[in-house]
Symmetry: C2
C-alpha cells in the first residue's frame, strides 16, 4: 500500500509527536531504534518531512527533531503520505492508466474509485494527535519487540 519510506515516515512522525508532547527532541538514532528502521535511510526521510513542513529540525548541539505541540492536532496523515509517496494513491488509476479519467475509465474504475476515496477520507481525517495518543496510552506500538 505505502512504500517502505512512507511507513518509516509515518512511524517516525508519530514517535516525534509523542516526544514533542513531552518536550523532548529526538534524533535519527533514537527514532530508528524505536520504529525498527535503518538509521541513515530514516534520516533521509526525516529531511524530506522537514522540507515538507511536517516536522521541524533543530541543528547543532541539543538539537533534534520535533513538532510544535499546538500543530500536532492539525497534521493529517495525508500530509505525510503525500510528502513521501506523492498523490498517486489519491488520484492514480488502479490499473496504471496514465490518468484516472471518468470519461475514459479502466474496467475497475467504479469499484476502485470507491476504495480510493475511502482511503483518502481516512488519511485526510486522521490526525497525528490521535495516532500519537494511541502510542502514548499503550494502545498501539511502533515495533514488535
Amino acid at each position: 500500500m505505502f512504500s517502505k519510506a512512507c511507513e518509516y515516515g509515518i512511524k517516525a512522525a508519530i514517535f516525534i509527536a509523542k516526544n514533542s508532547y513531552e518536550g523532548k527532541r529526538v534524533n535519527p538514532k533514537e527514532i530508528s531504534e524505536e520504529i525498527n528502521s535503518p538509521q541513515a535511510f530514516t534520516a533521509k526521510i526525516l529531511q524530506s518531512l522537514v522540507r515538507h513542513n511536517v516536522i521541524n529540525s533543530v541543528k547543532g548541539a541539543y538539537g533534534g527533531f520535533e513538532i510544535e505541540k499546538d500543530s500536532i492536532p492539525y497534521i493529517k496523515l495525508s500530509q505525510i503520505v503525500n510528502a513521501i509517496d506523492g498523490d498517486s494513491i489519491y488520484k492514480g488509476c488502479g490499473l496504471g492508466l496514465e490518468t484516472c479519467n471518468e470519461e475514459h475509465p479502466c474496467p475497475v474504475h467504479d469499484k476502485f474509485k470507491e476504495i480510493r476515496n475511502n482511503l483518502r477520507d481516512m488519511l485526510e481525517t486522521t490526525t497525528l494527535e490521535e495516532l500519537a495518543l494511541n502510542l502514548k496510552n499503550g494502545n498501539a506500538f511502533l515495533k514488535v519487540i
Copy 2:
C-alpha cells in the same frame, strides 16, 4: 496499490476473457499491444497466471491464452491479485509491522483495517465477467490511445 506486474496481469486477464467469450485465443503480442505493456514481461506474468490456474495456455500452432467461458463468472479479481502480489494487501500491517495483530496493533490499525477490509471485499466480489463486459460494451478501456 498494485505492482506493475499485477496491473498488467489484471488487464491481460480481462482482455483474454473478452476474447474467450468470442472463442478466440490470444498471444502475448496481441495482449501487450492491447493493454500497452512490455511483451516479454507480460508473457512472464501470463505464465504465472497459468500456474495459478487463472488462465489456460495452449502450446503449439493455433495455441494461445484463453479462459474457459463457463469459469469466467467465477474468477474473482482477488485470485489474480493474490497470484501475482500475494496476500500482503489483505493481511499485512499498514505500517509494515511483521504481522497485523489485534493484540499488538500499530497506531493506524483500526483505521487501516477498515480500508483493507473494504478493498478485500471489493476484490473478492468483483468477477472477471463484469470487468470483461465493461470492456466489451465499450464502457471501459485497457489503454489510453
